[in-house]
């Protein structure tokens, strides 16, 4: 599997160099993800029983590049890795009421979805070659940092999530 994704290699370097929050290191789950990518690469047409296309080599390569770039951010948790019916790949982080996914839809473009079901927040968008990954990393951190405050009802609405919703 090639680890080339021209966009994100450049992006993550830029991210790491401009924002001290993202310390660039190597993660410990990349080998597991690579096994998943190899399996996805070998899926045939119709792999889902609903007429899905086999993975598109360029999208897969781009997704791998994105993942290896994200993997270099310290402490980032491993996402779920799933093929999409149109031949793409998506990554999902889920924790409590918060969820973030990013789907590589083309060689140089991806879409994302962030939801916080406790706060009725949803954000969607696209990222392209010339954009920083800081926004993506912020969403992932929001999911990772979620703690269930619902047992403290009186303070739930003053939580970070509530402030995010208002903002």
């Amino acid at each position: 599997m090639k680890s080339q994704f021209t966009i994100t290699e450049a992006l993550i370097e830029r991210t790491g160099s401009t924002d001290p929050r993202w310390i660039v290191v190597r993660c410990d789950w990349l080998e597991d993800a690579e096994r998943q990518f190899r399996a996805i690469e070998n899926l045939p047409d119709g792999w889902d029983g609903n007429g899905a296309s086999r993975s598109d080599a360029r999208s897969l390569c781009a997704a791998w590049g994105l993942l290896t770039s994200l993997c270099r951010v310290e402490g980032l948790s491993k996402p779920h890795v799933n093929p999409t019916p149109c031949g793409g790949v998506q990554f999902e982080w889920e924790n409590g009421f918060r969820y973030f996914e990013i789907e590589v839809v083309a060689e140089r473009a991806a879409t994302y979805l962030y939801r916080d079901d406790a706060m009725c927040v949803e954000e969607t968008g696209e990222i392209f070659e010339d954009e920083s990954l800081n926004g993506v990393l912020d969403f992932i951190r929001r999911v990772e940092n979620f703690t269930d405050r619902t047992s403290k009802r009186t303070s739930a609405f003053n939580s970070l999530g509530a402030r995010e919703a208002v903002a």
């Binding site: 597991d32 998943q36 998506q90 009421f97 079901d117 949803e122 969607t124 009802r153 919703a165 208002v166």
Partner: protein, 172 residues
Amino acid sequence: MSDEPISDDEVLLRRIPSGKPWLEPPDRVTSANFKLGRDDKGLSVFRERFVSEAELLKRPDAIEGSLVVRATAGEVRRAKNGKQEPLNLDVIPVDHDTNPGHAEIRGQFTASVAGALKRLFLHADSSPSDGSSHEEVPAIHRSSGLSCAGSLPDPTLVVVRGDLSTPKRDDE
């Protein structure tokens, strides 16, 4: 023939492949299961009136280890995104001889729609006709406390009053 209009109380079945081949938990349902393929006009579902869950899993095109999730047509038509905005989905029969009971969810398919359908089909109240239990409840629903009205099909879970950014539990 099953090309008659689909009423709101009809149960729709969606077959979900196991994630085992690519080393994900075999019973984890993902929003990718509710996204369209390249040439799809809508998301394929089956009407339980015409095809049972067991029959759907026995069909030749079924992938081993697949599971079936369900929701009613009305729930799909009332589906909302994470901000409680209507998604304006519809369900129409797309039937032909080799695919009895086939229907499609039509609409403007986005990541938002796929995410909403995932939650809807996982949490729908429509119980299996064979009486078997469904335990496809993800961690996000096991958590107690706040939920957004509309994002889950059971309206008794939550009442949202006024500003949607401050949901309140109905037992407060």
